[in-house]
Symmetry: C2
């Protein structure tokens, strides 16, 4: 432990190559890269269209056990595996989400991997990057302004003012904006009403951008957004407000995927970042599809654990985009497994085979779940110094019972050199062609049954429950023609149940559904199970207080 | 009139050169340009520091008579003159403001010049451009979030909740946000209070970014922002909130000037765009100073007419930045002069020498005013087809009485070929070295006397008046140590008086001051004289309703 460097030290010691050279690795002509600085670029829309007919590479999903405070390292594994595949001679690219700006000023830390498995330039990626989130904020809020403006000038569409459901957004942790009354101050400012702001990543526009297959699909989905209801409960859409065209214009550049590089100068697409609770939590369809045309192996990531992240990746993103994943990596740490077995955070460095055995139930259920989608898996054990040989062997033995290999990964400390074995196994698994991807349920299944299927098959719950009002919402959405949408469950990521303290693999619990929400543009029904915060607050001492520039113009305090 | 092309048609028919080639014209090494796409770039901070010791080129201000609905063409003249100077063999660059995003969705039309005197890429410039305004929005709103968060966690700085004066901003025309009550919804969301949003260009952060000379000065000014007051009326600053460092980080890239090109491939810096009423209405000091190191002639622009725009350019920007303008161009049109003489908009195409003569009083006062700053001027008559020879001669004769030349300009129709004469005259005027720039008043003059001096000397007013409360505000600011700040008058741009309908050159009017506001970071005192709207609304049929992408991905409806 003599000289453990911080993420930012490692990132600043890297030797980034001009982004055109990174593009060259994927045979992207330099003129098809729209540069943002010397180390970031967007792929031009024309170029993306031009490669549409090419065959697809293999798609590999990185997911994880249920997250714990011990940390799993899903993003580092995604980055490390991408580097590892390149190291063993494969043409591989990674696809991950863009981080949100707001949270950077709350808690210290960014989202660009860590150790020797990072994407760079990490400061840019965590701050304004290429402006995608700002564009989403603008598009979301233009729609809001046009809704209130419509009401101001006579309300020709007959909005019920109490049922305007479209909220404004800001990429900031600002609890003061969660609930507001707007349009105060008299006649010239409109009709006072209750409203509020979410953080930008929670905007339906974000989910739409990430699921849209092209400009036309983007505009169609934006137009379908339901912004409010009339007194007779009929919906009013963004298309009726005539906002879809201008929103598309604001989002046109944001729709193009961003190319950056890993510390080892391998190509990384970072594009879109929807919430993983009220939305599907995956990078954009366009980025994944484009990467599949350019690389032989594409390593991508889904939010939270496999119960939420992988399920939504399969049942929402892959279903909608026609993607067929070839292999999955389930990331786990010995520490996190022991935590699921009941070990307190401060005792995780001590060998505890009994707790490990107990906690493995969590991993086991995720393995069973992923198999239900027909996708072969391998377990990546993200190694910590405190892991003992006996513990590692116990995990390997456990996984073997499922016919799954568990592989030690040391990308955090060693970069691609630490993940060669995983790279070989994953490549072999993907090349085998054993994947027979299927979604968990058909489009035609009734909405409530879809929800029950997820709760029973994936969460190990006895059932889903909801009061009459909630059940009626599901029925109403079906009657309104949204019955073919998939379900997007918003619940705690820390447990298979809705109780974040129920670690391991709880069974026979019930999932209470508090509310259903329609995302008519993103094309899914959100089932809210528990408290979901769509606008975070800042802590008592925000990280922002210590962020600044040093005498060389380098950022301090951000990481 | 057979084939008058629209601005957007002309812009799309242009042949843009790679931005590196435009930089080359100013001998900027390509590695010092931070590209945003192929046709936009920022100058790197290191490069800007490196040229600090070079001698300055000549600074030319383009200003105008009091604006009328007839239009004057100040930006087109700025762009045209820049092209004209290049055409006659001078090394010239232009410096103009960045347009605001929000208004594009209200009324049709952008702000990038027009006809054959435009800057490109006009769509980008009018939409997200290089993200500067988004960065300003983020920095402004981070400060807001930190203020409310501070109160939430105990209010250690003892804000009087009723006296939090820092408002949030959004780059959107959204009247519903003008006045809000925030922090509703109970204990976890904070303490309800009144607040509101301005449009981003009205943020003090915008004024600060445009007046800051470097990163350190930026941080110092941000720290000085007064965000609210305690019950004892003592101010609380952004520095006490510890937001200045993180705000500086968010603004670091935005502080670097943007380089684009004119239709004739000449260099144009477009950077910053503060309101011209509650702020000083000029592009950034950094852009102007940098351009002066790189070009022999720099043509820049100030907002509104010369009474507001040029006065603030001289008394705020030049005073603070140590700039010494060498010449001024006062733009006028025959039509606008006739409008000042009482001709209705629909009759402006008819020769009317009597009205012209009457309206020339407006131009005359602006000529006298500019002379008070010791800057030699030339009048640019922005030609319209309806102008008659007799009318043109009358304007020339009138100007000659002031010892000023009036030159016909046809850049709108002919590009640089239409503005050669003006270019020669301006270059000669600037080269003459006759300019003896001086501000209108000294820093040491009492605040109220500064205001009276502007009202009397520039507006031709008998006096400024204000009730006891307003006068007390001026006295309080002096007592608090802000007495050395210049005054920034916020009043209608349509008249020398505070009545927008008083055309020509009204005299003996009084200027009622309604309110004084402190911009402690921007370092001026705003005197509010009349209704000033800091958050516009959308019209009944917003332009946004007709904006979209055509089948080729080109924007329609924006211009």
């Amino acid at each position: 432990m003599a000289e453990v460097k911080s993420d930012i030290e490692i990132a600043r010691a890297a030797s980034p190559r001009p982004i055109q050279e990174i593009g060259e690795k994927l045979a992207i002509p330099p003129e098809s890269l729209v540069p943002f600085g010397h180390d970031k670029a967007k792929l031009s829309a024309d170029y993306i269209s031009s490669i549409n007919g090419r065959p697809d590479g293999k798609l590999i999903l990185v997911t994880a056990i249920s997250p714990t405070p011990a940390g799993e390292g899903k993003t580092t594994t995604t980055v490390g595996l991408g580097d590892g595949l390149n190291r063993i001679g494969k043409k591989a690219a990674i696809c991950i989400r863009e981080p949100s700006l707001g949270p950077c000023f709350g808690m210290k830390g960014g989202a660009a991997g860590g150790g020797y498995a990072q994407v760079i330039p990490m400061e840019d990626i965590n701050l304004h990057f290429t402006g995608d989130f700002h564009a989403i904020t603008s598009a979301n809020n233009l729609l809001s302004a046009m809704v209130d403006n419509h009401v101001y000038w006579g309300n020709g569409l007959e909005f019920d003012m109490r049922r305007i459901v479209w909220r404004r957004v800001m990429d900031m942790n600002d609890r003061a904006l969660r609930e507001i009354v707007c349009s105060l101050g008299g006649v010239s400012n409109g009709f006072p009403r209750e409203g509020g702001f979410d953080i930008t990543v929670a905007s339906e526009v974000m989910a739409i951008l990430c699921l849209a297959t092209d400009r036309e699909d983007l505009r169609r989905r934006l137009g379908n957004i339901v912004v409010g209801y009339r007194r007779d409960r009929s919906p009013v859409t963004a298309r009726e407000i005539k906002a879809d065209g201008a929103m598309t214009v604001l989002l046109d550049q944001a729709l193009q995927p961003n190319l950056v590089q890993t510390l080892e100068n391998n190509p990384a697409f970072i594009h879109g970042g929807p919430f993983a609770n009220i939305a599907h939590g995956c990078n954009s369809v366009i980025a994944t599809k484009t990467a599949l045309k350019l690389a032989d192996y594409v390593v991508t990531e889904a939010g939270f654990g496999a119960d939420l992240g992988a399920e939504k990746f399969f049942d929402i993103k892959c279903r909608k985009a026609g993607l067929h994943p070839d292999a999955a990596v389930i990331v786990a740490t010995i520490r996190a497994i022991k935590h699921h077995g009941g070990v307190a955070k401060e005792d995780l460095n001590t060998e505890n085979l009994e707790a490990l055995d107990k906690g493995l139930a969590n991993l086991g259920r995720h393995l069973r779940n992923v198999a239900k989608f027909g996708v072969p898996a391998v377990v990546g054990i993200n190694r910590f110094l405190s892991d003992t040989e006996a513990e590692i062997q116990a995990v390997k033995d456990y996984c073997a019972e499922f016919g799954v290999e568990a592989v030690l990964c040391e990308h955090w400390a060693k970069g691609s050199a630490g993940v060669e074995e995983l790279a070989h196994k994953v490549a072999a698994l993907a090349d085998d062609g054993h994947a027979q991807f299927r979604t968990l349920y058909e489009d035609s299944m009734p909405l409530w049954d879809k929800l029950r299927t997820v709760c029973r098959e994936i969460y190990g719950a006895e059932d889903a429950i909801g009061d009459k009002k909630v059940r009626q919402q599901f029925a109403d959405y079906e009657a309104a023609g949204y019955g073919h949408f998939p379900i997007c469950v918003a619940k705690t990521q820390y447990s298979f149940s809705t109780d974040p303290n129920l670690k391991g693999a709880p069974s026979d619990h019930v999932v209470p559904v508090r509310e259903a929400r329609l995302s008519a543009g993103a094309e899914f029904i959100v089932a809210i199970c528990g408290e979901i915060m769509t606008m975070p607050g800042l802590p008592r001492t925000p990280a922002a207080e210590h962020i600044g520039l040093d005498e060389n113009g380098e950022i301090v305090g951000l990481f």
